[in-house]
Assembly symmetry: C2
Homo-oligomer: 394 residues x 2
Amino acid sequence: MDERVREHAEVLVDWSARVDPGDHVVVSVAEDTHELGVAVAEALGERGAAVTTLYGSDEMNRAYLQGATSRSKEGEVGEESDEDAGGDDPAASVPEFPDPVVDRALFEAADVYLRLGGGRNTAATADVPRETRRAHARSRQEVRERRMDTDWVSTVHPTRSLAQQAGMAYEEYREFVYDAVLRDWEALAEEMAEMKRILDAGEEVRIHTEREDAPDTDLTMSIAGRTAVNSAASVAYDSHNLPSGEVFTAPYDTEGEVFFDVPMTIDATRVGNVHLVFEDGEVADFAAETGEDALASVLETDPGARRLGELGIGMNRGIDRFTDSILFDEKMGDTVHLAVGRAYDACLPDGESGNESAVHVDMISDVSTGSVMAVDGEVVQRDGTFRWEDGFER
Amino acid sequence: MDERVREHAEVLVDWSARVDPGDHVVVSVAEDTHELGVAVAEALGERGAAVTTLYGSDEMNRAYLQGATSRSKEGEVGEESDEDAGGDDPAASVPEFPDPVVDRALFEAADVYLRLGGGRNTAATADVPRETRRAHARSRQEVRERRMDTDWVSTVHPTRSLAQQAGMAYEEYREFVYDAVLRDWEALAEEMAEMKRILDAGEEVRIHTEREDAPDTDLTMSIAGRTAVNSAASVAYDSHNLPSGEVFTAPYDTEGEVFFDVPMTIDATRVGNVHLVFEDGEVADFAAETGEDALASVLETDPGARRLGELGIGMNRGIDRFTDSILFDEKMGDTVHLAVGRAYDACLPDGESGNESAVHVDMISDVSTGSVMAVDGEVVQRDGTFRWEDGFER
């Protein structure tokens, strides 16, 4: 076994999930992530934990959902109906799913949940009808809540399918993933704590970018009263992704304009070069060079979808390129990201609700050149370099 | 997908497990059995069941057990001890396993358990210390009981590893498995019901084989008061293997001698050409051409290990050869098998205990030539042909 697979498992179990002896750990192993599963199982045995292993197969999931769809189209067994009943009315062919009592019992009993993502085909469930997908998700709402009550961590094993999604060779992608995952997390957490201190004490953030090859960004947001999260890839920091490496908060009263030069995928549509204009805290105008319809559809979801829910600062310098995966892209060093839609509770004062929305869509800007971020007028980052780093120019 | 994989899934879900709408089904998918898992998931979706999928990976299991072993060898974390403590004393290095509360909760909530066996290497856990294995099995006693309380069915997907174990080419082995699994189970269940009626009404079975190339068998057993099980590969028949196809009961007061010409594997040792002599219901003498030590070790386990626990009659004509897998071998048409050791409760009058033992080891005889089985003096099978079949000679 590649020694990096073993190190990945150890970071996941020790730094991220903080597994203790006697912990009951549920591991979900996606297709083609067997090797990481083996390394995680060994680490859990060494830590004295109990382990239950789920098979997180997209292809089995797709087959189950397609089976349920065809059942609903045929009508309930034993139900008296025309042979063609449900064939025309889309509502009649939405499957009903049993209450998932086994999964609920499972996550109720678990202390830790480790999701090893990967798979063989990122489009494996592409042909499942949207209504089936939604009905299934609705039936599993309580399972998700029980799962979020555990010390959960989501990571990925570098599979060929993810390499393809990133447009990279397999070996090249493996290097990329391990560079992002195998960090000195303790040192990075300390550095991010400095950024969090600045944001927690600050009242206003301004991001100002001037580059020849792109429209300007000049955006101000209020962050007064909001708490930043030091997302250091560990449940000890309320951070549930490995890799992580970002500090984020929940801004409001946004004014100005912003350009996002990093392409993204929204609802299976490629969206590129997004330009947003904010007035009175809301998106007043928008454009995208590609995929503008998908962007419009997001912004029209509900009133909260036109306001910002997140300002995030990418601080993981192990991530050196965009791979069309938000798990990595938004944590990249020299980037900031903003999300329209829902804000995270962790950023809000106790009992206060922030921006509410059914969506949360992240958009990313490269800030490595021509860019300044200031908090209350004081420059914190210039051209990607933070003020506590060598080479910083005030 | 090969249509036979889909048919296998349908036999498993409908004939074997009798899955109803709303049933909560736990499926365990071994390594390399993904394809059957997909077909089973689709069938469960079509039936309106809920599904939870476990990954039954021998390699993850081995890694977990090796991790636990190395932990126990190092001594508990934080415990004060010499660096070498536990290194010499084997008892000190037996791992303790946490109470598996997640698995217990899972099987308590489940209605049906489907085990898809297969794997990549039948020797995948060969280097796990026996003491670790036993300690782990002890910690999971209650999980096994909860699992047996479900409508459980165990089957195998034809993997290359199982083909290798059977000494067969992959395609050849696939034909073999589907011939055994895709039977007209309803017709076979009826035929086996006839055999069960004869055994239930009978008091004594005699098996008498005379062949030039092998020692004679001449064995009589009492079956008075015992109930035969029609093992028709369905929970509706108290039968939990797919394929199945045997009728078995619990004999006693065995007298005479028996020769088993089918080789078997006992505790990883090949055992061939076993000869047993019974006096007063117990093995009085034994021999084996190969692996006699392993046989001796079985017979010395406890007093019950020297008495018979099972007489089984193989009736699955889809199985036409021995493949060193008891799931298939003991169900083969034209064979009978006897097991030393524990008897099944289902064969005994309510509240009565039959032969008790920690072991149950099946041994198989070919009865296709020179062989007669009689119940209470009346011939039931001659040279493999039953008395209700064409070509039977009284």
